[in-house]
């Protein structure tokens, strides 16, 4: 087994990890800020892919889909928060969990009824097709593009949370919503925005994944499981955790694929079990918060 192959495998793992990060981010933001475990996350990922598909078909451009679909689905997310989840605040955590679980089914069935159970073709735009010679091997241009987009989103998210007033309020609101309310901040509007952001991120993940994987109503199911694994490994609610764990899982899966490909899916669950044994709160999780 030569060095080039191992390097190439590492790189494939990072690219796979970038997609995992994209999906896990929204899940962890919503949990970290609102304390809601969103079981509809995978379905919203799928809805994002279909929205992208529809917009691309209407406008004939992948770029419009990439821009508009996450915003549109983000707004849908805000409607979901306002009218479905908000009435459940203050109840036990099981209620929003059951609600989002059911919502996921409703979304999948709605898409099945509207678009059918077959997949629908969706290709990367012409300018992003093909492969690039990286010196260690050939790699699809589109996957490099996805890595770039994810990196860009991370930087923007970090800037927004660390450098803006809204970011400050969001971080404070996650720590102690009661004090924020006492200080006169409209916490419910904050939560509305955060939920919309989380949903928008997963929708963006769906649009990004659409040209790589076939678009089908079931595409969100597997993604949800992966997102949970990444979130738990990184620490529930930790953004840095989601990023590190996403890349870590990608690389571990990839390296396993090199030596024992049939184990590639199981290994991420084994990793999660190991982390939970050694560090129950996850890599970057705070003890007591969701652990």
């Amino acid at each position: 087994m030569d060095l080039e192959l191992i390097l190439m495998q590492l790189f494939s793992g990072l690219a796979l990890g970038a997609i995992l990060v994209m999906v896990a981010l929204g899940l962890t933001i919503v949990f970290g800020m609102l304390g809601i475990v969103n079981f509809a996350h995978g379905a919203l990922f799928m809805v994002g892919a279909y929205a992208g598909l529809w917009i691309a078909a209407q406008t004939g451009s992948f770029w419009w889909a990439l821009l508009v679909a996450p915003i549109a689905i983000g707004v849908l997310g805000m409607l979901i928060e306002r009218f479905l989840i908000r009435p459940l605040y203050g109840r036990t955590p099981d209620d929003p969990l059951l609600l989002t679980f059911g919502l996921g089914y409703v979304l999948v069935e709605s898409v099945r009824i509207t678009f059918g159970t077959d997949g629908i073709p969706f290709s990367a735009p012409e300018e992003l097709q093909g492969v690039v010679d990286m010196g260690i091997g050939y790699f699809p241009v589109y996957r490099l593009f996805v890595m770039g987009v994810v990196a860009g989103v991370l930087v923007l998210l970090w800037l927004a949370l660390e450098k803006t007033r809204y970011g400050l309020i969001i971080r404070a609101g996650a720590r102690d919503p009661l004090i924020m309310r006492v200080l006169g901040v409209d916490v419910s509007r904050l939560w509305l925005l955060v939920f919309g952001l989380g949903v928008g991120l997963t929708a963006l993940g769906g649009v990004l994944a659409a040209p790589m994987r076939s678009v089908s109503p079931e595409m969100g199911t597997l993604v949800l499981a992966e997102a949970f694994v990444v979130t738990v490994i990184g620490g529930m609610g930790s953004l840095l955790g989601a990023v590190v764990a996403g890349l870590l899982v990608g690389v571990v899966v990839s390296m396993t694929a090199l030596f024992a490909p049939e184990m590639a899916t199981i290994v991420m669950f084994a990793l999660m079990a190991f982390i939970l044994l050694v560090r129950p709160q996850g890599l970057f999780g705070r003890p007591g918060l969701g652990a």
Binding site: L5, T117, M212, R213, A257, A264
Partner: protein, 414 residues
């Protein structure tokens, strides 16, 4: 005897035909009334209407209903009308067994046709074997032919992995060619792999590596660098449905097609439509049916025309199994002149039929349908003359018992 179904009466509804026929029979021959009022022949049809193979299952239902309609238009069998009882097996072995049992116990079906996945098919087979009901299976499997699973009540209408892989290998493998395998880690993948490896050994091709992947994996990117490093001439992707679409799509993203020929054991029309032409371009695979067969086979032309008149589209490969499977059973009942299980089994064993794809018959020892095997190549977008013009037939192997494993090899006494 070669039987050919009538051409369709397009534009006339089934109900009108039945009503007219009933009236005519009543006027002409009084004794026939007794027969016309006789109990209808009921055929159970469990298929996975919901789930990932829903599209194929719906096509199977359409084709099966067409077969029933054509036979009813001719006056049914011995004056008895035929009814198709479709049930959703949800691609789940337990669900399929329950539905099949209900069909037999409650609905009192005379025979069962159907099921699309190999695991589900074996569950249906268990039930029909235990109850002594005829079952015409329309899903690919090798094990159902083997002596340990054999039941005299079971007829296997679908191709089996051994047949498709051998045909595809004969069309693509050459002596000394290097073959790599990407295989779904379950029964179907393993059976396809075994078939291809056997063919490779016969032809003298070299196997350079095999990679197993979990069924239902979403991302195959991490497997691509290793496949490339094996430097194969041919990559055989042995999985099904969406797994196949995703694996081919991602192999294409990694530019694999420039270096190797991609082949699959079974190339599906619906899957090709669900992905883009450029993704499948040049991929070679086996099939039981493709509508373009109409250029050389008269019954294919009649089947396509009937299908088009009823549904406005061309029939698909897995869908066609619904037609050939139900037609074979009905012809067997017609030949037996009754629905008596033993008589129908005898009739089916000696039946030669040609309903959509040229001559077919069931081999005596294992009840496998001997039939032609197609090898298809996916067309480039620029070569397509229409939306349905997705494949080119590059080989059509004539039916022969030589293409099956021998009865002795399957464990039958010789």
């Amino acid at each position: 005897m070669t039987t050919q179904l009538d051409r369709p009466r397009s534009g006339v509804s089934r109900r009108a035909v039945l009503a007219g026929m009933g009236a005519g029979v009543g006027l002409l021959a009084a004794p026939a009334i007794v027969r016309a009022q006789a109990e209808s022949i009921r055929i159970g049809f469990p298929v996975p209407l919901t789930g990932p193979y829903g599209a194929e299952a719906k096509d199977q239902v359409k084709s099966a209903e067409l077969a029933v309609k054509l036979m009813n238009d001719k006056g049914g069998i011995a004056g008895r009308k035929i009814e198709l009882l479709v049930r959703d097996d949800k691609l789940n072995a337990g669900e399929a067994a329950t539905r099949t049992l209900e069909l037999i116990e409650k609905d009192k079906v005379h025979a069962v046709v159907g099921s699309l996945s190999s695991a589900v098919q074996l569950a249906v087979n268990e039930v029909t074997r235990a109850r002594g009901v005829i079952y015409v299976s329309i899903s690919q499997s090798d094990t159902i032919n083997e002596a340990k699973d054999f039941s005299k009540y079971t007829f296997h209408e679908a191709l089996n992995p051994h047949m498709t892989t051998a045909a595809v290998a004969r069309a693509t493998f050459k002596k000394g060619a290097k073959i790599a395998f990407l295989v779904a880690d379950y029964a179907y993948g393993h059976e396809m792999l075994r078939g291809f490896k056997r063919a490779a050994a016969e032809i003298g091709a070299e196997v350079v590596g095999e990679i197993l992947h979990p069924i239902g994996a979403a991302d195959y990117s991490t497997l691509m660098p290793r496949i490339r490093s094996m430097k194969p001439d041919i990559l055989a992707i042995c999985n099904f449905g969406r797994d196949q679409a995703n694996a081919i799509k991602q192999a294409n993203d990694f530019g694999m097609k420039k270096q190797m020929q991609i082949i699959v054991p079974v190339l599906l029309y619906n899957q090709r439509i669900a992905v883009a032409p450029e993704v499948f371009e040049g991929v070679i695979g086996g099939a039981n049916y493709y509508w373009e067969l109409e250029n050389t086979v008269p019954t294919a032309k009649a089947f396509n025309a009937a299908y088009k008149a009823a549904y406005g589209t061309v029939p698909t490969d897995y869908g066609a199994y619904g037609f050939t499977g139900v037609s074979a059973l009905l012809l067997g009942m017609e030949k037996a002149g009754s629905t008596d299980t033993d008589k129908v089994i005898d009739a089916l064993q000696s039946l030669k039929y040609d309903v959509a794809k040229g001559p077919q018959w069931f081999r005596a020892c294992d009840h496998q349908s001997v039939q032609s095997v197609l090898v298809l190549k996916s067309r480039a977008k620029s070569e397509m003359k229409g939306d349905a013009d997705v494949f080119e037939i590059i080989a059509n192997e004539a039916p022969s018992e030589q293409m099956l494993r021998t009865c002795a090899e399957l464990g039958f006494p010789t």
